[in-house]
Amino acid sequence: MTVLEIRGLHVSVGGTEILRGIDLTVRSGEVHAVMGPNGAGKSTLSAAIMGKPGYEVTAGTVTIDGEDVLALPTWRRAVAGLHLIMQYPTEVPGVRLLDVLGEALAARGGSTAGLDQRIAAEAVRINLDPSLTARAVNVDFSGGEKKRNETLQMGVLRPRIAIIDELDSGLDIDALRDCSRRVEQATAEDGLGVLVITHYSRLFDELRPDAVHILSKGRIVRSGGPELADELERDGYAAFA
């Protein structure tokens, strides 16, 4: 059982405070959705957890099974079991997926034996054209291909907690279904814990949240079960501002 614990997290970007005290606990197998309008600080939360340059934590703690995540460089956060599925995955010219995952597994002390086949098997599961996995990562991929590729990497690396930032942006309905379904399967198969950050609830058709948290102006203003997403859908964010 893995626990990601966020306590009193304050984050500033360029001297402006964006997150003003976030408390969240994500356990293995759970899906927590953080929902909020544009500008609420949703993407700042995922960036701060992974240690993206430019995101300054001014107060609070983030731990995974008691280990201080904020004291670790980004790559060690991933090795500790965190995986970020980016809203806009970066194109890395000339760098192949096989090399990235090979190095990522090596850093974890894991085996790279049969990595080709594992990538190919995940590509089938996520409906990603296998020929894309031999190309430079994300370069000239469509929005859907990028998100499938991110999800494929999660399948190969098998993290303990996935942080999923705006999975549905730039995504057609088929790709959204495939990606969210694969994440949902990982919660059951691998006990993956999920922190999914989203504006819309349409990905909940496949990826079923155990808890929904509404983020507004840098704070979680309300938490509840899946029914909270329905309430949002009906009343809009204005009701929670």
């Binding site: 460089p73 790559w75 060690r76 991933a78 000339g94 760098v95 990235v100 995952l101 850093a107």
Partner: protein, 350 residues
């Protein structure tokens, strides 16, 4: 002929700007020769050395006085079946060597030539090479130059290609070695439909400096040139790229492209890129692009967020950056190790 009688240029002159020419003490070198071996040239005839009066600078003129000539004439209508390899091993300490390579591809012939320069670290040497490439009508020439000189060698080299009607010349320059290594690379497209592709990969570390001046000269209609130079500097190393596209009045309907990209991998490293265009006619298609900067932060973060350690992420990104030029290299044995040599320079064992 005593080389020391030549008047050296100074860095006050525009074409030697940024260079380290002021550090050169010509008198400290004695005239000598490299151990040169040529393989794969069976069936090629001797070639004539071009006119020395057109030497673009004093170093090319000094080369023209040297007897160290390898001439390769590819007979009309033949495809030379083997890659010709010319290796210059500069093994004398304190020597100046002036090798000349002449590739004379007759009408509708084809040849690939690799020229390698090597010396040991600690061997002080001044290498002044010239390669002359003449591609007659419809000839196809591929020329690869690999600088693997040691840390104490200087190179001031010249590449000149004259490309005839519907002929194609491709040149690749790989510069990893030398203390100061400068190459002036010129292609002149003199026949209608002539085409040239120039590619370079350079990577300087320690206190090395790589210095390139390129010229793409279009003197006939419907000619095409495409230049892609990519370099990296690390530690306190420096690099300079200065490129000129010149399209004369005769060069109508020509296309010319020039791209130079540089990665600065350390705070103490420095790179300069100066592209230029000189176009004397309308109805041409030209573009140039140049960049100098550190590794893209977003790419680094992306790889690190997968769990790739920073030094490995840097190696992947730099190798990825060079992938575009490595991809263009011809698939021959002599260049197969370029990628791993770049990896070695990055100082990561795996």
């Amino acid at each position: 002929m005593n080389a020391t009688t030549h008047q050296l240029p100074t860095s006050d002159e525009e074409i030697w700007r940024y260079s380290r020419i002021g550090e050169l003490d010509l008198a400290s070198f004695r005239d000598g020769s490299a151990s040169t071996t040529v393989s794969g040239a069976d069936g090629l005839g001797p070639a004539e050395v071009g006119d020395a009066s057109s030497a673009p600078d004093v170093f090319a003129a000094m080369n023209a006085e040297s007897p160290a000539v390898v001439g390769l004439r590819v007979p009309r209508g033949t495809v030379h079946p083997r890659t010709v390899e010319v290796l210059h091993d500069v093994d004398g300490d304190g020597v100046m060597v002036r090798p000349r390579l002449v590739i004379d591809a007759e009408e509708n012939s084809e040849v690939t030539v690799v020229e390698r320069f090597a010396s040991a670290d600690g061997t002080r040497a001044l290498v002044l090479p010239v390669v002359e490439i003449r591609a007659a009508a419809a000839a196809r020439v591929t020329y690869v130059s690999i600088n693997e000189l040691g840390r104490d060698a200087w190179m001031i080299g010249h590449q000149g290609a004259v490309v005839g009607r519907d002929a194609r010349v491709r040149t690749f320059t790989v510069a990893l070695g030398g203390d100061y290594a400068r190459v002036r690379a010129e292609v002149r497209l003199v026949g209608q439909g002539a085409e040239a592709q120039q590619t370079a990969l350079y990577f300087a570390d320690g206190t090395q400096m790589h210095d390139f001046r390129t010229l793409q000269v279009h003197e006939a209609p419907r000619t095409r040139s495409d230049l892609l130079f990519k370099g990296a500097v690390k530690d306190r190393a420096r690099s300079v790229y200065t490129g000129l596209i010149r399209i004369t009045e005769q060069g109508t309907k020509s296309e010319a492209f020039q791209t130079n990209r540089n990665l600065t991998l350390s705070h103490g490293a420095w790179a300069e890129s100066v592209p230029n265009l000189e176009i004397e006619t309308n109805d041409v298609k030209c573009s140039h692009a140049s960049t100098v900067g550190p590794i893209d932060e977003a790419q680094r973060f992306y790889l690190e967020s997968r769990g790739v350690p920073p030094d490995v992420a840097e190696r992947l990104v730099v190798l990825g950056f060079f992938d575009e030029v490595i991809d263009r290299l011809p698939a021959i044995g002599a260049v197969a190790s370029v990628r791993s040599k770049v990896g070695t320079k990055l100082g990561v064992s795996r």
